[in-house]
């Protein structure tokens, strides 16, 4: 069984240089157009919903109510509705805190005025209050924020962002949920309901 080994014919390809000039042209033009069309600013969104009126509920169910009124720059009014029938954790700590910072009582609710010298101080103080409330109401997510007509859009966004989540420079806080488990979070009241400020509302 002799195998004949055929001599393989070597095929000679024509020698030539690869011309990549057209490729370079296309690439350069493509990059130029892509650079023109690309936006390097990073956009994101801050979400909120409006306060809608409706039929009052017939069910007598205690509801958590937290309202912020922004009438002037760097000033806020904070209202906390009646809390005596609400589920809460660390109730004694909350009552002590409300007694120090707020005026009111558990049946009628609490209120306080907040003012700061600068934007960062305002955000810090507002978030301190919200952290204290969130620790006692870890299952609540809604906050109503009412803005006066003269409040600028940037300030409005600052407030909405501040009530949703802790500022990036702050560390998260530990809260105990209704099941008694500890968890670390940065989230405050992420469901922001926007409203219009009216005196005495």
């Amino acid at each position: 069984m002799l195998r004949k080994r055929r001599s393989a014919h070597t095929i000679k390809m024509p020698e030539g240089e690869l011309n990549i000039v057209p490729l370079m042209d296309v690439l350069t033009i493509l990059i130029f157009f892509l650079l023109l069309g690309t936006s390097f600013a990073s956009y994101s969104v801050v979400q909120a919903t409006p306060l809608l009126s409706g039929e009052p509920s017939q069910e007598k169910k205690p509801t958590f109510v937290l309202k912020l009124g922004i009438e002037r720059d760097l000033e806020a009014e904070v209202w906390l509705g009646p809390i005596h029938e609400l589920k809460m954790v660390q109730a004694a700590e909350l009552k002590a805190y409300l007694g120090r910072r707020f005026s009111g009582n558990p049946q009628a609710g609490y209120s306080m005025k907040l003012s700061a010298r600068d934007k960062d101080g305002f955000r810090r103080e507002l978030q301190d209050i919200l952290v204290a409330l969130k620790k006692s109401f870890p299952h609540e997510n809604k906050v109503v924020v009412a803005f006066a007509d003269k409040i600028g859009y940037q300030r409005m966004i600052d407030v909405v962002s501040s009530v949703r989540e802790l500022a990036s420079e702050r560390e998260g806080f530990v809260l105990i949920n209704l099941l008694g488990k500890q968890e670390k979070t940065r989230v405050l009241f992420p469901e922001v309901i926007m409203s219009e400020w009216s005196e005495g509302a």
């Binding site: 370079m24 690439l27 990073s42 956009y43 409006p50 809608l52 007509d149 940037q154 909405v160 990036s168």
Partner: protein
Amino acid sequence: MGLKRKNKPRVHLEEVPLNITALLDMMTVLLFFLIQSFMVSSMALTPPAGVRLPTSSKVAEPEETVVVALSAKELRGDNKLLTTLAEGKFKPYEIAPDHRTIIPLKEFLDKEQKKRLAVYKGAGDLSILPPGKLLIQADKEIPFGILKYVLHTATVTGYSDYQFVVVSESGDPSRAPASPARK
């Protein structure tokens, strides 16, 4: 006076082939990077002229939906001019009798809402659909007293999920750290 021009001796350089491999590598990588960034941010969120967006440190990805842009001079819907403002206020004849609704914006959003609902035609009760999302690009100096007309009109047309477009604080050049104060 006459300057004598000396004949410089001619230097014959060796012919060296230009190596463009590194250049090609770099351009290809740049091309991939740009195409990727194009695909990620497919939505055109660049605000129209006259709209300086506010800044925020919170990051949430925008979703593709109807865009309304409000500056001190004009109101746009999906980049089409809807109306102009006079001295930073809406013209009285473009406000509905309820003193809240902007008529041109309502007409625009009604059309968009019809398009949105047409998708769900025959799917049952449309009233249980979640409210429409509306991307709002407003100038950071606009007072709430003007913006509230837009928000109200959006709500009455079914767009009550507001998505305020902001620039991430890290990407805003105007928030660069200030130079240290001189003593």
